[in-house]
Symmetry: C2
Amino acid sequence: MAEASHKPVPLLKDELDIVIPTIRNLDFLEMWRPFFQPYHLIIVQDGDPTKVIKVPEGFDYELYNRNDINRILGPKASCISFKDSACRCFGYMVSKKKYIYTIDDDCFVAKDPSGKDINALEQHIKNLLTPSTPHFFNTLYDPYREGADFVRGYPFSLREGVPTAVSHGLWLNIPDYDAPTQLVKPRERNTRYVDAVLTIPKGTLFPMCGMNLAFDRELIGPAMYFGLMGDGQPIGRYDDMWAGWCIKVIVDHLGLGVKTGLPYIWHSKASNPFVNLKKEYKGIFWQEDIIPFFQSATLSKDSTSVQQCYIELSKQVKEKLGPIDPYFTKLGDAMVTWIEAWDELNTPSEAKSTKPANGVAAK
Amino acid sequence: MAEASHKPVPLLKDELDIVIPTIRNLDFLEMWRPFFQPYHLIIVQDGDPTKVIKVPEGFDYELYNRNDINRILGPKASCISFKDSACRCFGYMVSKKKYIYTIDDDCFVAKDPSGKDINALEQHIKNLLTPSTPHFFNTLYDPYREGADFVRGYPFSLREGVPTAVSHGLWLNIPDYDAPTQLVKPRERNTRYVDAVLTIPKGTLFPMCGMNLAFDRELIGPAMYFGLMGDGQPIGRYDDMWAGWCIKVIVDHLGLGVKTGLPYIWHSKASNPFVNLKKEYKGIFWQEDIIPFFQSATLSKDSTSVQQCYIELSKQVKEKLGPIDPYFTKLGDAMVTWIEAWDELNTPSEAKSTKPANGVAAK
């Protein structure tokens, strides 16, 4: 007891859930134990729901498999992807916390250049709890970090910044490349530790990776939909990209910020580039049209909540991207279903029980 | 001779001039000798023209003082600032090379985290000779650096990038802070080495510092005007900022790029914050209007050369900023004079002799 009382309370301990999509036993949590154990985990089990996923002892978690998702959402479960890590967004929806951190189960603790283990979650929380600066670029990067500030010529009226909605972390070892780049550069590893956090400027899109990502659910949660991917869909591996394009347009509209850079995780294993190519190839074509669409997308002044923005965006998706492929009409509809499901689970008066059938508090 | 023949030829040896504004002996060049000696220097002597500036032996240079500037430009010399480092832009104008590197004389060779001396010029050249990516953010920073590439989700149609016009380097030790920040944080030092180069996205302004800056004269030279500062002007220390706002609008319009980040130099000495405050205080007010002006400035399709863009911008400056203070009307006129002088010295048929009276090739 005396020992415990000397330990600092982990940041946001009761205000953050860690969401992990998986199809296997979560042995990777052993390495994260010093950093994750104080937090609550939401595990979204993909694939065969009869398979039993083992979670190391001592972690506090709830687990949802496909049967749980279908039971909780009913017909609206159609908006949650199956056999694709896009299913993780169900975890964002059932969380009752203000912040989410999501990580892939092939990501391990990285070391900083001094050899020290990086507490990725702590850095994400720092990123989220300090403002962003999307309206003007600061050449010394995040001005709110210790030892940094706004440089000469930075307008004083912009130094309060804006609330940070998203913190996008990076990866050492296996970089997040598409299938063609994986095929061309099979041996490339990311060994460069860039000691920076920076705000993605307003009006600029970026490729958001879901491997090591944190966000403020209250500020942007309803837009963090990972789309229709995997089973029964013509595309995969664009779940996080889709969410990234949508959230950036909405964040810019609502005057919020996105940071990228630190923290790094250690990405252990490259996925199969041939399998990836099959999942990605339509996306590789489509993104040439999707990105100009998002670059020019504007939202009306009447859209002041994330939900309103997202519904407005879904209409534009159907209208402008629908002609490319019927998939986008289906996706636009799924965006609406997602918002309906989100509101159903997150409006206090209408809230349904989301207790998983086999989720156990193991601690 | 045998030894010399094994030395690699320095990059762009005959295509780059180093421009140094100064009021003192250039002892600082001793430390830069291994990196700068192969290049030609253009020294712009500020202040008293009768003072003799000593340049260490072995450097190949030309030197211009105020008398030279007045003689060469005649009445148009009014556009070149006096008693302010803004005078350096005269050096950009008289250069006949494709590339310029400019550095302050209180900047020394910095060391990278491994303790190795940083060849700042070499890194700038690498930045300038590889494309920029202003249309979409790459989360692993400069995709053209060794060990890096475009990440998943980066549109393939944008991977050729655009020509890089400007390379903006940073500073270890004394950060480039404004007077208020200097006063509030007198002991802050920049010790963070961020191992990154990145493109400032299209549509985003940044505070460009002239301390450690390289650019492609052919692509952007005529817009690299450092304005009216110092003697007889109501403002100082905004010379590089002014140039940075102008070049960014024009670079964005012409489809070129600006990179920032590496290389670092070691900035040895903080300037006096009280003196700086006097120079800056009008700028601190004015920039609150100037920045929105540049953020919303657009150029017509008819402006296809840097000169045309710059003249168009000068008209907007007079029209939109003139009402703030008569200074901006004068500045708008000086922008036109600058372009006239630039064209006079840089159009082959009209080219005048720019030989300095006391400039000697010391090598």
